[in-house]
């Protein structure tokens, strides 16, 4: 099977598997909504304050929801042995990882991006700010999935893997968080925010280039 067809087959397979466990997908979105709803309760419902912290809070909540979904990326396949079978295929392992993280992004990043504007309205964000929020999430969430895939692969089957995953991945997420929430805050402050968006895109290109290869190396380690 050629690499593009293998890639497409992996994406299709993972999407089907995700669809069979729709409840799991919903958990991430519900978690995102819950975290975002806790902030107004904790610091008070003053509209001006909420509009100011909104972009940052929503971005942090997206990152936490993404972190929650990361173990699912390889864990199920690793436990039932299908990851080993996938590695045995003649196509490069990085293509397999790229397919899996594309499916992971489609099932976590996209729903979060679609739900975010609703919460943005609750935080009183303007419409152009909401648009930038969606744009920054659209560019930022694939980076989160790609960087996270390296962490998920490294902690596969490790003692206290999920705690460790947070420690490994959250510092790496910092730049995405800063530029993502920065782009939204810039628009809210009357600037264009395109500079931050370009930097997000640059980070995305860099990670997409390196992450599948490094994650594939890490996955092979877990299998051996």
């Amino acid at each position: 099977m050629s690499s593009p067809r293998f890639f497409a087959a992996i994406v299709r397979r993972d999407l089907l598997l995700a669809w069979q466990q729709r409840g799991d997908l919903l958990v991430g979105v519900v978690f995102f909504v819950l975290v975002a709803c806790l902030f107004p309760l904790a610091i008070g419902p003053e509209p001006k304050l909420l509009a100011r912290i909104g972009p940052g809070v929503l971005w942090v909540a997206v990152i936490l929801a993404n972190l929650l979904a990361l173990p699912r990326l390889f864990n199920n396949d690793w436990q039932d042995g299908s990851l080993e079978q996938l590695l045995l295929s003649p196509a490069p392992a990085s293509v397999m990882v790229a397919g899996k993280l594309t499916a992971h992004w489609l099932t976590t990043g996209i729903p979060l991006t679609l739900v975010a504007p609703l919460l943005g309205i609750q935080y009183g964000l303007e419409s152009d700010t909401l648009l930038m929020l969606m744009g920054s999430l659209l560019l930022g969430t694939p980076t989160l999935s790609a960087l996270g895939s390296i962490g998920a692969a490294l902690t596969l089957g490790v003692r206290q893997g999920e705690m460790l995953l947070a420690l490994l991945v959250l510092p790496l997420y910092a730049p995405v968080l800063i530029f993502g929430s920065g782009a939204v805050a810039a628009v809210a402050g009357g600037l264009s925010g395109m500079a931050e968006l370009s930097l997000l895109a640059a980070i995305l290109c860099g990670t997409l280039f390196l992450a599948p290869w490094l994650a594939a190396m890490a996955v092979r380690l877990a299998i051996e």
Binding site: L167, A174, I203, L210, A218
Partner: protein, 255 residues
Amino acid sequence: MKPSHNGPRWLNLFSFASPMQFYPLAGRLIPLFMVAALLFCAVGLWLGFAIAPSDAQQGEGYRIIFLHVPTSWMAMFIYIVMAFWSVMHLVLRTRLSAMMAQALAPTGALMAFLSLLTGALWGKPMWGTWWVWDARLTSMLLLFFLYLGFIALTRSIDEPDRSDKAGSVLAIVGVFNVPVIYFSVKWWNTLHQGASISMENGSSMASTMLIAMLLMSLAAWMYSIATCLSRVRTLILQRESRTRWVKERIAQEEK
């Protein structure tokens, strides 16, 4: 398992990539580096605390710079060295390289921690606060977390081979991220907080201050090498505990 000797032994550097060859060499080098560290430290501290003039703006409080700057430099430099050994491990598949990376990590974490701590102690009297979300402070904090992640990952995997390779992959990912983190935090600050407190007061530094600081940096360097080598020796003994040369060596030392 004898390495091939083509020419004089000291020329054949690659023979030291074998843990068996490296163990005694490291043992001989540790005292040298430790003595050098103590010497540099003694002279540096004397120059820094007794001879150097007090600062025009900051009085005596600035003297913590002699600990703060060397530890900050080492914290950043050690991560790069760690990534270098990790690349060596993944490319040349030498076990010793991965051990070097793992031996460096605790020293790097210590340096990052000391840099944060001395920075906080310095910041309180000078800026009136323990902590500012300044670019340098925040990126150093994240670097500290990167070290902790590396240590936690390598320690929680029991198979040495997997632990080595996993650590190497993580160190390489981290070294790409360190500049990204640094610049992102820098731009984040300059874009949204206006001018924050600048730490660039080194330009008008007296030459004795500079020399003292460089001596302290050399001391930190020597100390890091010495601790790293001694940690590598422990790692070698752990990993090779089943081999004959380790058993013979331990039997010899027990006599």
